[in-house]
């Protein structure tokens, strides 16, 4: 539908679209301009009433000389002309106001967004000691601003895509023009436009809709709440999808090791960052393999244990009435329960419950003879390993894998663990993220996971992203240093 000549017809169209006067959110402000009837329509609360009064209505109603047209009268910062009715409705829904005048077949969309929003705060999950402490918020425009503050380059481009037939959720596709491979941008936009749903609720739903393997164990897109992290990934040649209403920005495409890397490592010196990464790799293996190996060794392959340890484990397990695997599964379940309970309870109480639950429950269970000390230690280390994984969704991956491995170890010992591991490796190798292989080599390639290279050695961008500009810095990056 098009905007019409007659202001009465336009008003009727708007009233019908917004269910006015039943819908009390909509405000119509009529006025007369150069003898012509007109109205301004906006949503109460979404548009800033003061801006409308001061910069739209006041000049309209006060100014006497109208020879240059409406564009010179209205003192608003952003003014577009719209002929399509649905676009005008969409703009009003975003918080802008639409102005229609008799005889004009276009609506004037004025930028008057003034809804309440949360200010920029510290990150909730991705804490940092040496890095910046700003986090993304729910407002799309604020998030793009945060990115622009870090990447002051005209190539930083944001394209808008609307998802969700009925709720019209705006998603911003952000990329670095001149670095990124345009195929990926087109693919991301194609997938976003191809989402056919009534209600696209959050960033999490968008993630699942656009992933290659939506219900796989491993996440093939990552999210971040830190602008510096997102900026670093954008400069590598990846694409950020900012979803309006979600404080987490989706980054695609990624590889498996992106989940284990954090932005803080670039702020640390190379040897320290390497140690941190090594500990994280060990923590990941501990998170899903340690309980399984414990079960396999104590029930199938006890000849591996040193003799004195053998005696002490056997003595501690004397009074336990059920086999080792049941004991481990019970402890695993209890710890998960404690963790979930601690998460639901708000504030400081949540953390306290976690500690109290862990310590007292574990101690009491050992004294009562429900579990053995060795089991408590194993589960504690496993839990710590789980917390060392930076990504929230991947912690669930580790948890699920842990249960699978425990069952395999309980059934067949090392054979079960070995076979399950082979299947896991095969599965991970078969995944793709927007067409690129999910797994990259650990020790070779441009940016190996371990050891971390010093910042002056990162000459090339990741090759799997097939960026336009492959070299990010020349071989000699410290030109001040002689003989680099």
């Amino acid at each position: 539908m098009e905007i019409q000549n007659s202001v009465m017809n336009n008003r009727k169209m708007f009233e019908q679209a917004f269910n006015y006067p039943t819908n009390k959110d909509i405000v119509f402000r009529d006025f007369k301009f150069q003898g012509k009837e007109g109205f301004v329509i906006y949503i109460d609360g979404m548009a800033d009433g003061d801006k409308i009064s001061d910069f739209i209505l006041r000049p309209l109603l006060n100014k006497n000389d109208f020879s240059d047209g409406l564009k010179s009268v209205l003192q608003i910062s952003s003014l577009t002309e719209e002929t399509d009715f649905s676009e005008a409705v969409s703009a009003v829904l975003q918080g802008d106001c639409a102005l229609c005048i008799e005889g004009d077949i276009k609506a004037y969309i004025c930028e008057t967004k003034g809804f309440d929003k949360r200010g920029v705060e510290k990150p909730q999950v991705e804490n940092s000691i040496v890095g910046a402490l700003e986090a993304f918020t729910e407002t799309l425009r604020t998030n793009t601003t945060l990115l622009h503050k870090i990447i002051k380059n005209p190539g930083l481009t944001t394209e808008m895509v609307t998802v969700g037939k009925l709720n019209n959720l705006t998603c911003g596709v952000v990329y670095m023009n001149g670095i990124v491979n345009k195929e990926f941008v087109e693919e991301v936009k194609r997938r976003l436009k191809g989402i056919d749903t009534d209600f696209a609720q959050s960033g999490g739903m968008i993630e699942q809709f656009i992933e290659d393997h939506g219900s796989s164990l491993f996440q093939t897109v990552t999210t971040t709440e830190r602008p510096d992290n997102a900026a670093a990934l954008l400069m590598q040649g990846r694409i950020a999808i900012i979803v309006d209403g979600s404080p987490r920005v989706i980054i695609a495409p990624i590889t498996l090791f992106s989940i284990l890397k954090t932005s803080e490592e670039s702020a640390l010196r190379a040897p320290f960052a390497s140690i941190v990464r090594l500990i994280r790799i060990i923590a990941v293996f501990a998170a899903f393999l340690l309980p399984a190996l414990y079960i396999a060794i104590t029930t199938f392959h006890a000849e591996m244990i040193p003799a004195s340890l053998l005696l002490s484990i056997a003595k501690s397990r004397i009074n336990i009435p059920y086999p080792a695997i049941i004991e481990l599964l019970i402890m695993e379940f209890s710890f998960t329960l404690i963790r979930e309970a601690g998460r639901q309870i708000p504030g400081a109480l949540g953390g306290t419950i976690g500690i109290v639950g862990g310590l007292i429950l574990g101690e009491a269970a050992v004294s009562a003879g429900f579990v053995s000390q060795a089991c408590v230690i194993i589960i504690a280390f496993t839990g710590l390993g789980n917390f060392a994984i930076p990504q929230y969704q991947s912690a669930f991956t580790a948890q699920l894998l842990r249960i699978v491995f425990i069952i395999c170890a309980g059934l067949m010992g090392f054979l079960g663990v070995g076979l399950a591991f082979v299947i896991l490796v095969g599965y991970v190798n078969s995944l793709t993220s927007f067409g690129i292989d999910y797994v990259n080599p650990v020790f070779s390639g441009n940016a190996p996971m371990f050891p971390k290279q010093p910042v002056w050695e990162y000459e090339d961008r990741p090759s799997e992203l097939r960026t336009k500009k492959t070299q990010s810095q020349p071989i000699v990056s410290r030109t001040w240093k002689k003989g680099d």
């Binding site: 067949m412 090392f414 070995g418 076979l419 082979v422």
Partner: protein, 364 residues
């Protein structure tokens, strides 16, 4: 199914997994039995023989760039011969995979799982191989690349473990049973390395035949080095008379290592290397069966084909009735006589193709 793309390292890993598992099971002890102290000389001679055979037959693939060996055989010798060769190759790989699975299962049973029935362990290994094939050739190849590093590390680990026990005097007398014996055995021992010919089946996956040739040469070299070094360490640790009686030299080497009372119980960790190598061999073997059958009958590889190809492998796994049959009747086919089939047929095709080209009978 996407077209498979192989790099040089992937080629090395894939062929390496078809040759190295002999190290983890009865291969070493059989070598000790046949050649006494001189098996390493026989291995070196076998390496040279196989390398020459591979390099002689590689130009055949260059002549018909972009085709695999079955297609080339069909072109050169006619479609019926190509079909027969394809079926023979698929049968050979099924037999190879099945007998290897059986051997690994026997070793696993001895060293860890005495009471578990054979069909459970063999069934699980085959099930894992089928699942790996469901994930696709790309996943198998990349996993082979990952586990190859682990296997090589395992072999180096085992060699280093026994450092305080090696007695070089066990290698004397150096010539073993005599030079004529060595010479006779080297041709048969070349069968240990003959699975490099599988690269001819995957030739279209390489970007050019030079890469394929490089992968073949490197994989034979790495395997030969691993065999020779591990055999030397094996004999230096146990003398030939004790060594020839062992079921699995690799596991026994691990069992016999001792440094101090904190650092000596390794045999259960070695089970991992055994499991990884046998599962990857089963996956790659099944993949080879699938590829050769699909190419012969011009089918598109799919999940149904994989399950159908797993059936001959399963049958081959249960053909050997007991361990004596396995080591005396069925294993020697793979470890001694297969070089005539694997290297012989491509050589024959090369000769016929050259003759045709010389006499201008070629029709492309």
């Amino acid at each position: 199914m996407d077209k498979l793309k192989l790099r040089t390292y992937d080629g090395i890993a894939v062929t390496g997994f078809l040759m190295l598992p002999a190290l983890f099971s009865t291969g070493l002890s059989k070598l000790a039995e046949q050649n006494n102290t001189a098996a390493w000389i026989a291995l070196l001679a076998a390496f040279v023989i196989m390398l020459c055979l591979f390099l002689i037959t590689a130009p055949l693939m260059k002549r018909y760039e972009g085709k695999n060996i079955i297609e080339i055989t069909s072109l050169v010798m006619g479609r019926p011969f190509g079909v027969i060769y394809g079926i023979a190759l698929a049968t050979y790989f099924s037999y190879f995979t099945g007998v290897h699975i059986k051997e690994s299962v026997e070793i696993l049973k001895i060293y860890g799982y005495n009471l578990t029935p054979i069909y459970i362990i063999a069934g699980l290994i085959l099930l894992t191989a089928v699942i790996m094939n469901f994930y696709g050739g790309h996943a198998i190849v990349k996993s082979a690349g990952f586990f190859f590093v682990i296997i090589i590390v395992g072999i180096i680990f085992i060699m280093l473990l026994g450092l305080n026990r090696y007695n070089p005097d066990y290698l004397a007398p150096v010539l073993g049973n005599g030079i004529s014996d060595i010479a006779k055995n080297s041709l048969f021992t070349a069968s240990v390395f003959d699975n490099v010919i599988i690269l001819f089946l995957f030739a279209p996956a390489f970007s050019n035949t030079a890469k394929m040739r490089k992968a073949g040469v490197l994989s034979i070299s790495v395997t030969a080095a691993a065999f020779v070094l591990l055999y030397l360490c094996f004999i230096m640790m146990f003398s030939p008379s004790v060594a020839s009686k062992m079921m699995s030299g690799f596991m026994e080497m691990g069992k016999s290592s001792y440094y101090n009372h904190f650092f000596y119980r390794f045999e259960s960790i070695l089970l991992f290397f055994l499991i990884f190598s046998s599962v990857m061999l089963a996956s790659i073997g099944l993949f080879a069966v699938r590829e050769s059958s699909a190419c012969t009958f011009k089918l598109k590889p799919s999940k149904i084909i994989t399950v159908i190809c797993a059936v001959p492998v399963l049958i081959a796994t249960f053909i050997p009735a007991n361990i004596l049959d396995l080591t005396e009747k069925y294993l020697p086919v793979i470890r001694q006589y297969s070089v005539f089939f694997m290297a012989g047929v491509p050589l024959l095709v090369l000769i016929v193709s050259t003759v045709k080209r010389v006499f201008k009978y070629e029709k492309i």
